[in-house]
């Protein structure tokens, strides 16, 4: 008895340097450079980037995208940089066509480009943004939420009552690529995050067709106890070790020792 052939690769899933497209993507995930990690990026892609403000940003990957030279990107991120840092670099480089985010605040780089029409902005409530990602990752095309009912967020959306309360229908949101940062990664891509640097990164990883991780520390399989994995490696496709970080403060607030 011989096996005729391995199954044909499925249509989904990007190809990459570390494996064939399709069903067998979970081997040789660790690459040796940011350039290699970002090799599959293309113009016009939708890219999600983890982080809350400047906390938890995959700084080296964000810089690497500018160096990669792709453009016309749709960026999905809770913010889009601030204080000229983080994703503001993409705004400066002029490679973003559209931003989907929850909060702009005093991000003047974005305000300027919105006003000029260079960048379109779509505002989504923060919880709805996270839930739309979670839905996409879990195979749910649409769900109902009370957030946004009776507001501009509801415009053009289906409204429906359940048990006497009114809800909006929101659609799943997925991306071509997710760029995230982890405190620790093993070779399979099991991840741990640090404190509030976790934020959107795990949920973005669940729905992107290609999840690329910049890991502060890279360890062997087995070094993370199975019960201590924050995000299982099933959601991770490329890993690059990043030793240096700026870790900027956005608002450094302290109290005096007393």
């Amino acid at each position: 008895m011989t096996a005729s052939s391995t199954p044909a690769p499925s249509a989904s899933g990007p190809s990459g340097p570390s494996g064939p497209p399709g069903l067998g993507r979970h081997r040789h995930k660790v690459v040796s450079s940011v350039t290699e990690a970002l090799a599959d990026l293309r113009d016009g892609m939708t890219i999600m980037v983890g982080g809350f403000g400047l906390t938890g940003n995959a700084e080296a990957l964000i810089r690497g995208v500018v160096e990669r030279g792709v453009r016309d990107l749709t960026l999905v991120s809770n913010n889009a940089g601030n204080l000229g840092k983080g994703l503001a670099q993409w705004l400066h480089a002029g490679i973003i066509r559209k931003v989907v985010c929850s909060y702009i605040g005093n991000n003047d780089d974005l305000h300027t480009r919105m006003a000029s029409g260079e960048v379109k902005v779509e505002i989504t409530p923060q919880g709805t943004l996270a839930e739309r990602m979670r839905a996409a990752g879990a195979g749910i095309p649409a769900f109902f939420t009370p957030t946004g009912v009776g507001t501009v967020i509801a415009e053009g959306k289906e409204v429906r009552e359940f048990d006497g309360r009114t809800y909006l229908m929101e659609r799943a949101l997925s991306a071509d690529v997710a760029l995230i940062r982890a405190r620790k990664a093993d070779q399979f891509g099991n991840l741990r995050f640090w404190r509030t640097a976790r934020n959107f990164s795990p949920v973005m990883a669940t729905e992107a067709r290609l999840t690329i991780v910049g890991a502060d520390e890279l360890v062997d399989n087995g070094a993370i106890d199975p019960d201590d994995v924050h995000l299982p490696g099933i959601y991770v496709h490329r890993i690059v070790h990043v030793a240096e970080h700026e870790n900027p403060f956005e608002y450094r607030t302290t109290r005096k020792r007393g």
Partner: protein
Amino acid sequence: MPYSKEQMAQRAAAEIPEGAIVNLGIGLPTLVADYLPAGHAWLHSENGLLGMGPFPYEGDEDPQLINAGKQTVTVLPGGSTFDSSQSFAMIRGGHVDLAFLGAMQVSAHGDLANWAVPGGKVMGVGGAMDLASGCRRVVAMMQHSTKDGEHKLVARCDYPLTAARVVARVITELGVFDPTPEGAFRVVELAPGVTREQVAAVTGAPLL
């Protein structure tokens, strides 16, 4: 004499029962934490932190441990960290007991407008709509009028809404007021020396 901001924060803190889970919005609500006895309540920050502590001592700041206002904070014993979808599941699922939110306008039916000024710069909505729609009790904290003397407690909001019929209580420098289904503000208490008539003159809806 109207309440100072600190007195408003202190008054807001008195709304918090022991053992409550509380989310404090950006701005004025942030001050409420200063008037909570240690261990009285658990502070939730929507960026993925429950059991938020005070600002760190100088030199202990961690740029990866922040609150929703992106200020460096600490985590108390018994605290936990989690991702954004878990954090908003807590909010949207009704597990956060109390939200204190800044407001631009509150209607006498409890509608909240706190994220955009008509014709103004788009700042984004952040977690405000989720907090307003999801938390079990929403308390608005605001100045009673704009700097130009316009009403902020109104019969109907003309600023873009954050959520409809969600505000249970409003704390201003003039006192404490509850929106009601009848579309009037019930006067819960007045700041010392402030009269009903003074309040009525600067409120765009009937008082009860």
